[in-house]
Amino acid sequence: REESLKEAPAAPPRNLSEYFKQFLFPQNECELHNFRLSFSQLKWDKWIIAPHRYSPQYCKGDCPRAAGHRYGSPVHTMVQNIIYEKLDAAVPRPSCVPAEYSPLSVLTIEPDGSIVYKEYEDMIATKCTCR
């Protein structure tokens, strides 16, 4: 932090919290992003009766070097980062992936013409983590 303060611009920054933010967290930090699709886009709306729209969401962004408590990451994540930085760059850095999901109810027509209502586990990402 001292080094970064030495490089700090002479003019005092207007907004201190914004200024420090750039040192604390990566710009495009790992977080949950919205994505909404309709089954008609996949041409499945003839056999998926409901819901019409589905928002699976997704995780994207860089993982901070010290992922730690902020993402509920295990210590292994920081170890993996150290391996990547100090020992072997062939080992990938920790990735931004879903940590929790919520279910989805689907109403579909089966090939024999019967109709089924089903509740599926893990169909909508609700939280991200670094692993």
Partner: protein, 304 residues
């Protein structure tokens, strides 16, 4: 990596046998055992789209019989009661099912129904094919869904007696089906208020579904008296209302991994308390070391 090698070697044991409707060139890890694939109605199309042949329109490759419009209307109403507009299951403690299947009588018998309908308007011969029910789906409740063709003028209320009988086909001796067991239900309902009449046949069908019967052949006979049984109504002849061939509704608990289990999500929430209780951490055990017998007994009690 190692796991992938293991999957490939399993292929020889047939565990990952390529099911018929998954393209052969899919990554072996994507081929799922039949039970798991059929149970998950979404998997085959998802896998097909992910495979390179999947670019064609999934719909054109799997022609589907069109469902009965009344049945579709009923299931859409069930969906609205069970899930939000975004498709999130409602946290409804009372409903333990995570799967509901609606079967309409199979088509070849339908035209027999038409013949029957010319004669006796009250009894229909039904054959349900339950092939889509997987071994991992356990029956919670089964309902016979009756609806009446009310395009003809109907009286306000009616008291009906419904006779159900299961027919056993003894294919060896080619005789006509014998009736293995039958049951009678007495129902009172008002036509104008009810588009559907639901008859709980769980105990009646349980033995058949528990023995993984794929085809259920039953005869349904309705005899209705016009008016309200409480008031003195002259007993009129049979009610001239056409009985639409009933559908069979199965409420099931799918025990496969992909299905949503309310109780496990409830249990999961209970299991991860807001903060670990201090005496649960190893340090706490050390601090309480002096009362070893005490700790051991509580630890044993906790383990029990």
């Amino acid at each position: 990596p190692h796991s992938r090698d293991r999957a490939v070697s399993d292929k020889s044991s047939g565990f990952l046998a390529p099911p018929e409707d998954i393209p052969p060139r899919l990554d072996p890890l994507l081929r799922l055992p039949k039970g798991m694939r059929r149970g998950h109605a979404l998997l085959p199309p998802l896998l097909k789209v992910l495979s390179d042949q999947g670019r064609q329109n999934w719909e054109s490759q799997t022609p589907r019989l069109q469902p009965d419009s009344r049945a579709l209307r009923y299931m859409k109403r069930l969906y609205k009661m069970s899930a939000t507009k975004e498709g999130i299951p409602k946290a409804n403690k009372s409903h333990l099912y995570n799967t509901v299947r609606l079967f309409t009588p199979c088509s070849e018998c339908k035209h027999r129904h038409r013949e029957l309908m010319k004669g006796d308007l009250h009894s229909v011969d039904l054959l349900f094919n339950l092939d889509r029910v997987t071994a991992l789906e356990h029956l919670l409740k089964s309902v016979l869904l009756c609806s009446f063709d009310t395009s003809v003028p109907v009286p306000s209320a009616a008291t009906c007696v419904c006779h159900l009988s299961i027919k056993e086909y003894d294919f060896s001796s080619q005789v006509c089906p014998s009736t293995s067991h039958s049951i009678a239900f007495s129902l009172h309902f008002e036509f104008r208020k009810r588009r559907w009449v639901e008859i709980d046949v769980t105990s009646f069908l349980q033995p058949l579904i528990a023995t993984n019967r794929r085809n259920i052949h039953m005869a349904v006979n309705f005899t209705c008296l016009v008016g309200d049984p409480q008031q003195s109504t002259e007993q009129e002849g049979s009610l001239s209302v056409a009985l639409v061939p009933p559908s069979l509704l199965l409420y099931l608990n799918d025990t496969s991994e992909q299905a949503y289990h309310r109780w496990s999500s409830l249990r999961h929430r209970r299991k991860t308390p807001a903060r670990p209780r201090p005496r649960d951490t190893p340090l706490a055990d050390l601090l309480h070391g002096q009362g070893k017998e005490h700790t051991q007994s509580t630890r044993a009690a906790r383990r029990r």
